[in-house]
């Protein structure tokens, strides 16, 4: 989301954050989701074992 679009949202949130700060927070959330994705993964298998539900 662009800084321009974040301006009204930042004001509405009433947290005293500038649009740039909100943008940084959003980026940080997305970055943490990417870098910790593997923590949610179940063990990777070469091939599914049909008899065991995923």
């Amino acid at each position: 989301m662009s800084v321009e679009l974040l301006e009204p949202l930042a004001a509405e949130m009433g947290l005293g954050l500038a649009a740039e700060q909100v943008e940084r927070v959003y980026r940080d959330i997305d970055q943490k989701r990417r870098s910790t994705r593997y923590l949610h993964l179940s063990a990777r298998l070469v091939g599914e074992v049909e008899e065991v539900p995923a």
């Binding site: 989701r33 949610h40 179940s42 063990a43 990777r44 298998l45 070469v46 074992v49 008899e51 539900p53």
Partner: protein, 330 residues
Amino acid sequence: MTPPARLGPHVLDIDCAAEAERIATWMVNAVGGTLHRRGVIIAMSGGVDSSVCAALAVRALGTKKVYGLLLPERDSSHKSADRGVLVADHLGVTYELQDIAPALQAIGCYRQRDEAIRVVFPAYADDWKCKIAIAGGAKGGINFFKLIVQSPDGQLQEARLPIREYLQIVAATNHKQRIRKTVEYYHADRLNYAVIGTPNRLEYDQGFFVKNGDGAADIKPIAHLFKTQIYALARHLGLPDEVCNAVPTTDTYSLVQGQDEFYFALPYQQMDIALWAHNHAVPASETATALGITEEYTRFIYADIEAKRRTTHYLHARPLLVEPVAEIGD
């Protein structure tokens, strides 16, 4: 001319060269691509499963990106540890040995187990040995567990285990697999590596693992392979004869305990075929002929396979949420 037999060991034949290559390629993608890890941790028990996983990891990633761990404790066999060292040296991987007995002692593993044993055998002491065996079901009854102990003079005694004591012994010994996994993830975290889980298909399908113990891993490269196929891969990969000829044991109790004595209805060679046959809807009569067992016992094995799938389903289940968190993918 007689038609070829439909069921026999040949149903488990694989192209070892192609399979080793397939797994190695998959491992490169899984470790580097999906998980973004720099290498792998492998706990090397000296058994065929972990040895084959280690060899496949070396093939995929090279020796410098494979870190071996030897994690013996008070009850594990010295022969297993020796085989672990043999394989690590054979493959040329860096490894370290950590005796996990002090951690197990501190957490209460041995005390909690022995308390339960002494309910059945009050004289049981530190210098005795023990194991659990399954009984009953194969004779048409309900499965129950026997406790077998050996006093220092070599005398064996056995008794039926009450369910409460059985559960306490199993719960206490499960500390072993969980402490091992804790050590594995310590090294995985410090090196930014992935942890290899080493279940074979029988173990994976039938729930023969400890949840958050040996069941926890980032990759499970041989979960789709039958034990017979893993032995074939071990020979193809040129692993030492000591590994290729090793008899599988649980290496969890101080008395030697075969997997078929504790969990599976048959030795792995037959159990592999029985599982394959059941998965392919082969009639019990045909499987019985192929395995040289009775049709009645084959029906028991088929039912036991299904029962184990049902009762161990929760071991595979991820934590249950009230509702999905949409932003978190699978």
